[in-house]
Each structure stands twice: as structure tokens, then as C-alpha cells.
Symmetry: C2
Subunit: 136 residues, 2 copies
DNA sequence: GCCGTAGTGAGTTGCGTTCTCAATAGCGCC
DNA sequence: GGCGCTATTGAGAACGCAACTCACTACGGC
């Protein structure tokens, strides 16, 4: 059996490109709408498929929001974590020693680490200012 | 206007009790099934309502799994985090200085902290042993 | 015991995501 | 360039979790 060939398609490229252009986390549906608005006829299923592929290869970050999963392009395949503004979605990649602690805590409890989830949410300076100026 | 009275019902007690008896994280549906199996006629909606109430008061922990939210009873209202076995669901409450990290990176980036998510997954010693003995 | 109303539960709805499958289009090969 | 195989696509259906609806129930203050 030979190699399984992964074909290069316009759709996959379009999803990657659109994701790169989005600075904040975005949902599959919003990305789909954005693509359609720009004339693409791409299907929603394909957007989901492409985003899932990108997240599996580490090209995209995923986080679970209350309404579903959000995606974000992430060139560096390095594992890292995010600080996300709950109001505007502005996102900063941050460095924290989680991995060390995962290792430590796992060892203490006889676990073999598999994965971990760490996402930090807050309000960015701008949104916090807006919030303060508005009555509550 | 007087106080809003929260009435004490069999159903709420049953949910709390069933949740206490479950050592691992459990879904609302599984908890509902468990209750029905034991003769209860409680409705699924009530299970969801009760679990949401418990999580809001801090009596229950919630975590987002791939298939939905999982609940776990948690006497201590203290904020903490979990190390969960991906195979059997065994859960350990662990202490990690996440709060410090949140403070630090928020300050660095001009964010006002709101909340954070930290869940660690691995395989407990038992499940790891089983995995090793089985052919991959 | 009576009453007002919070709570319940069967069924329905909503919504994000995945699945189905016939049609399309990469791409290795000639 | 053309052929053939099959990975990929997209419209729509299906799925699963969670919330909602609303008539009915039962808690608890009196
Ligand atoms: Mn990232
Ligand atoms: Mn806990
Ligand atoms: Zn913001
Ligand atoms: Zn285990």
C-alpha cells in the first residue's frame, strides 16, 4: 500500500488564508460566512473539516467557548497558551510553566500525562476602560 | 419584596446524593440514567437544572469534555483544578499556582483577570498498566 | 388544610457539529 | 494533453447536548 495522498485544494487554502487573516479566535460558522461574503462557494462542512485538520497538525489553536469551539491560526507549532479578552476576543500568547507542573503533579499521583487545557480569560485595557465608563 | 424562597425537593436531593456517590466526573445524561435505573422518575431537565445550580454555588465542578460537560461533586468551595484519567475517569484534585500566573500575565498584558480553565488529563497507574499489557 | 408559586417533567426546540452520498476535481501516469 | 482512480467537496439530513415550554405538582408559609 502506497502513501495516502493529501490533495491540495482551493478550499483548504482558502480556509487557511482566512484563518491567518483573523487576528482573534473565530468560529467555524463565522469563518464560513466570511468566506461566502467574499464570493466563495465553500461549504460549511469543508470549513469544519479543514479547521479540524489544521488543529490536528497544530497549525491552528482551538478553544472551547460557551457557544462552541473557536479557532485561531498559529504558525508556531509550539505548544503554548492564551490570554483572551472576553469582550473583544483580543488574544495574547503567553508563557507559563504549566508543563512542569503537569509533569510534577502527574508523577505525584502516578499518572502518565496525556494532555492539558489552560486558557486564561480577562478584559483587555480597552474593554476594561469602556466597561468602567459605562454605567456598570 | 421578600426573599425568594428556594424550595427543598426530593429531586434536588437525589441529584446531589447521586453526584456525591459518583467518584468520577459524570455527564448529566449518565446521572439521569443512573437515577432512573434506581427507580426514580426524575426528568432530564431537572437533572440539568440541579447540576447547573450546584455548579453555580460551587458545590459541583464542571469540565468541558469533547462530548459535553461533566460534573463532579466537590464539597470544598475552594477553587482548584483536576487531574483526570482519560480511560477510567479517576480524578485527583491538585494544587497548581495558576492564579499567580494569571495575575502575572494579565498585568504584563494590561488585562483584568476574569476566569481561567486548567484541566490536566493523563492515565492513572492502573489504566497505564492495562494499556501496556494489551497489545498497544 | 389552603394558597401562591417555585419546581417538575415530557416533549419540543435550538444550535453546533458531524455524517451521507452523489458530484467534482486533484494528481500520478501514460 | 488526456485518462482513471479516488480524495475531496457541498447541500442537506442527521446527531447529540442543553435549554426551553407549559400544564401540572407539591413545597412551605400562613
Ligand atoms: Mn496560539
Ligand atoms: Mn473538585
Ligand atoms: Zn478587549
Ligand atoms: Zn484510569
Amino acid at each position: 500500500m502506497v502513501e495516502v495522498t493529501h490533495r491540495q485544494t482551493e478550499q483548504k487554502a482558502a480556509v487557511r488564508s482566512a484563518l491567518e487573516k483573523s487576528t482573534d479566535f473565530i468560529s467555524a460558522q463565522d469563518l464560513h460566512a466570511r468566506l461566502r461574503d467574499k464570493g466563495s462557494t465553500i461549504g460549511l462542512a469543508t470549513v469544519y473539516r479543514s479547521l479540524n485538520d489544521l488543529s490536528q497538525t497544530g497549525e491552528a489553536d482551538v478553544l472551547q467557548s460557551g457557544t462552541g469551539q473557536l479557532f485561531r491560526y498559529c504558525g508556531s507549532g509550539e505548544h503554548h497558551h492564551h490570554l483572551v479578552c472576553v469582550d473583544c476576543g483580543k488574544t495574547v500568547e503567553v508563557e507559563v510553566p504549566v508543563e512542569e507542573w503537569v509533569q510534577k503533579v502527574s508523577q505525584t499521583n502516578g499518572f502518565t500525562p496525556v494532555r492539558h487545557v489552560l486558557d486564561m480569560y480577562g478584559r483587555c485595557a480597552d474593554c476594561e476602560a469602556i466597561r468602567r465608563s459605562t454605567a456598570r
